[in-house]
Subunit: 348 residues, 2 copies
DNA sequence: CTGAAAGCGCTAACAG
DNA sequence: CTGTTAGCGCTTTCAG
């Protein structure tokens, strides 16, 4: 009854390297050698240390180690995306994870929901945890604040969104060219009045897609004024309402270009509600799950988010290994014709 | 020319608390007080310290802090799921993230792909990073190895998969009851020969769904032998092939029960290929994106993965706050009839 | 092949 | 209100 709080189910703390050393009858440096697979440990000593480790269920504290380790690496990356529950970002996440895990690096992932305030807070927290690299899909265009972090040797790679006022690696899709190609596809199917359903415009890729759309119209000699545009569609409900509105106008378009995933889903719902899914053509930027199972199948400009994630992570590791020149990598999207984009215009 | 390597673009290291103290002309403890919002700092001192902090772009090293902090918390959770790129797990992840972020806790997320070897490695790495809590969808049934970690005070919560040989919080769906209900739904629509398309069986939830399926058959007085079963469908391609095979048998079933997401997608493809999507009824466990847009709409037992993630994280925090009794929480799935499950059997 | 001493960046405990 | 000292668990350096 000397120790007061010594209940049986009391939480036992983690064993330390010292506990292991004592139990194995060696110095702590020897234990350190064993856990880091360093040479100069006799087979016998090695065995004794291993026995002590497993007896105590010892787990080296990686954070404590990296405090002293030369380079001070934490073997952790920070990943900041729009929303980890989103199909696109989930795939990016997985791409980053796969490459990171080859380097024994874990990934701290966070969602932003296009929230500017959150952006700064989350990135700050990641930095305070001393991540070795940052892979970001940021909301704010101006990222000059991160320059000082780069100078501290932390690689920063931007995915899908293009930052301003910073010289960094960027991994994006060919937004402008892809949108142009998708729009041209509709034009090739004889459409002249094409509605544009756009996502919120602050982010660079939204602007680029819109430009590509206009490029295609211009190339075909179609006046932009013939094409109704509804922008800033935050979610599929907004897209749904906008599509209903656009298609019930007197001069309704005969085809739709949807600039994003959720927008496409809202538009598809609206088309079905109006019974127009076989009358009005639609091409969506970003593929959608089951896009091949709906009728008609969704014609989509499919991005490759998994690959984007892999490449972004690979760039971060390249910087860590000494690469100093920024790259802007474009992962091409491909047009998948499945029916919805090949519907000819209704005769009037 | 005294310092050799002093190139202009050389990486400047992080400023330390000592640098800040020196620049502000105070002791390090005062800086510590400021960054931790502790009392007993005069307004003037506070201002000076803040100035030094921003001048040096100082960022407290959270890992170093937690080494000494009482409790030693890292404000980090580990999340281990099947695949972060999967719609279901992405939603779980987001649920965990949302609750964690309310507590200022970051989430280290990792994918397992049902790989047993990976499971042990990844959980070990998370533990070495001293996560404050673990939320796991494990592959191996026996989780007794984690008991020692629990005793060290690390809350462990299992999501979607039920572990053996450990007393821990568990968050699952009503797999058995849900499967029974889905099957009963088909029976209510006069089906008597219902095919079962199952996922790999090692994991508890697969078994439970199968049991629920059998429960419903038994309750309706249908011999289990009338119902063809194909199990162990690893992905949608396997499910696709299995469905084709099952539906071209002489005694093909008139309805299908699909036990999981990817299986459902494969089955839907097969049905379309055979042109039977309006002939053969199907109910899927787990909803599928765009399940309402295909024709007929997919009748699904929809789980609530986001909620499961939230609840799992909440349990972890509850344990951290002293709760000691394990809960088994069942998040009910709901049947969404959309057409595919209400197709009557073909007349023979 | 092995270990003792110093110190990473920070917070705890105390003394002013 | 403020600063000093010790030490978290580990790696580094260097002396055996």
């Amino acid at each position: 009854m000397t120790t007061p709080d010594a209940g049986a189910s009391q939480a036992r703390a983690h064993a330390t390297i010292r506990d292991v050393a004592k139990l194995a009858g060696v110095g702590i440096k020897t234990v350190s050698r064993v856990i880091n697979d360093e040479p100069n440990v006799s087979a016998l000593t090695h065995r004794n240390v291993m026995r002590a480790i497993s007896e105590l269920n010892y787990r080296p504290n990686y954070n404590a180690g990296s405090l002293r380790r030369s380079g001070g690496k934490t073997q952790t990356f920070g990943l900041v995306v729009g929303n980890v529950a989103n199909r696109f970002w989930g795939a990016v996440h997985r791409g980053v994870e796969d490459v990171a895990s080859e380097h024994n690096v874990a990934v701290l992932a966070a969602s932003l929901d296009d929230d500017t305030a959150r952006e700064e807070r989350i990135i700050g927290e990641l930095l305070s945890r001393r991540v070795d690299g940052l892979i970001l899909a940021t909301v704010r265009p101006d990222q000059s604040a991160l320059v000082v972090e780069q100078q501290r040797g932390i690689p920063i790679v931007f995915v899908d969104r293009e930052p301003e006022n910073i010289d960094a690696d960027v991994v994006v899709t060919n937004n402008r060219g892809g949108a142009e190609q998708a729009t041209a596809h509709l034009i090739a199917h004889r459409h002249r009045r094409i509605g544009y359903l756009g996502e919120p415009g602050g982010m660079s890729q939204a602007q680029r897609r819109r430009m590509g759309f206009n490029d295609a119209l211009a190339a075909a000699g179609i006046a932009a004024s013939d094409s109704p545009v509804i922008d800033d569609l935050r979610d599929s409900d907004a897209a749904h309402a906008a599509t209903l509105e656009m298609l019930t106008r007197a001069d309704a378009p005969t085809a739709l270009f949807s600039s994003q995933n959720h927008v496409t889903i809202g538009a598809l719902h609206a088309l079905r509600e109006l019974g127009l899914q076989r009358e009005i053509a639609i091409v969506g930027f970003n593929d959608v799950a089951l896009g091949d199972l709906i009728e008609p199948g969704l014609t989509a400009m499919a991005q490759n988010p998994y690959q984007m994630g892999r490449i972004a992570a690979a760039r971060a590791f390249a910087r860590l290994e000494g690469d100093t020149v920024s790259q802007r990598i474009v992962v091409r999207s491909v047009l998948i014709p499945r029916g919805s984009g090949e519907i000819p215009p209704r005769r009037t």
